[in-house]
Subunit: 197 residues, 2 copies
């Protein structure tokens, strides 16, 4: 069989796109190199040429997920009031996660068994948290928030939203609990908890 074209940057994107679709539609189990290659009209070997292996394909998805995530987070318009801004950022965080649940799962829970994110994980994750960190750092410096190391506050806030979102995505929340309303309430109380009394 002949080869259609080489150095097909297009192919790379098509594989990445389709991989995202597959994983978004039916979860990580549904992402098989064979199916992926067949869908795109190539062979599994292409994935090895272009990415290095399945793990590296997932790694590319991981990066893409953070790109989208970071863009959404940085789009939030901040008011200057730290509590209000923490709420806004928290809401955007949830919306981002709900927009691509399976990408979120790749980023923050180990949803693809073979894949262990590289060292860049923490860095990339923290870079995404830049607006959050900035807001908190300022609030602490201004004496509006408690005099606690800003990292502690940042991680606490991040953990809070991550926890709620990931419970929601996993279906661990009770039936009668309507997330959207309670989420914001909880967010506001948590943020206000860091205010100096």
């Amino acid at each position: 069989m002949p080869r259609p074209r080489t150095h097909d940057e297009n192919l790379r994107l098509k594989l990445l796109d389709r991989a995202g679709e597959l994983i978004s539609a039916d979860g990580p189990k549904a992402l098989s190199l064979r199916k992926l290659a067949a869908d795109v009209g190539t062979s599994t070997t292409a994935v090895y040429s272009l990415f290095g292996g399945k793990t590296d394909l997932v790694s590319a998805l991981f990066t893409e997920g953070f790109r989208r995530f970071g863009r959404r987070m940085s789009k939030v318009t901040l008011s200057g009031d730290p509590v209000e801004d923490l709420v806004r950022l928290g809401v955007a965080y949830r919306e981002s996660a709900l927009a691509d649940p399976h990408l979120y799962a790749i980023m923050f829970t180990k949803s693809v068994p073979g894949f262990e994110p590289a060292e860049e994980t923490s860095e990339q994750a923290r870079a995404t948290m830049a607006p959050l960190e900035g807001t908190i750092r300022k609030a602490v410096a201004d004496g509006v928030f408690l005099d606690v190391p800003p990292e502690v506050v940042t991680v606490a806030c991040w953990g809070f939203v991550h926890g709620l979102v990931s419970l929601e995505l996993n279906g661990n929340l009770p039936e009668q609990y309507t997330v959207s309303t309670a989420y914001e309430t909880a967010l506001r109380v948590n943020a206000a908890g860091w205010l100096r009394r």
Copy 2:
């Protein structure tokens, strides 16, 4: 080849134990029916007779995880001061999760691709949260906590600890961030946030 014995309740336990060990040692990817059966000295078919399939084996692990978790949580001695008790429960929660990280992952993140917990999930999860829920319900009823639906507070507190623990288990936390000390600080601030002003 003959068969050694039948109705071997012991075999069931050995399989379950070994499965837990395998998954705890090297993660969900390392749990293969063939290796499991070989280690225990039986064949893969036994898993199908005794559990129904790999999914159901994982489901049994899931249940076992909640059993251990619930026992640890209910062992916490409560002081009556809601903030203090929320901290104690939060600390116990983290210790439980760190004791069996992979079981925790089965319970709360979808670490085994095929496995979708049944309807009993939410129920079993919520049952585990009984001490937490009790403490909060009382604090709200007594007017010590803000007048917010207790479920909202419960889910918020649960999400908070789950989020921090799962970020920690996934290695998403910054290097310099020392969890054990910051965790308790954050826990206390969060709990105090629910106090009536």
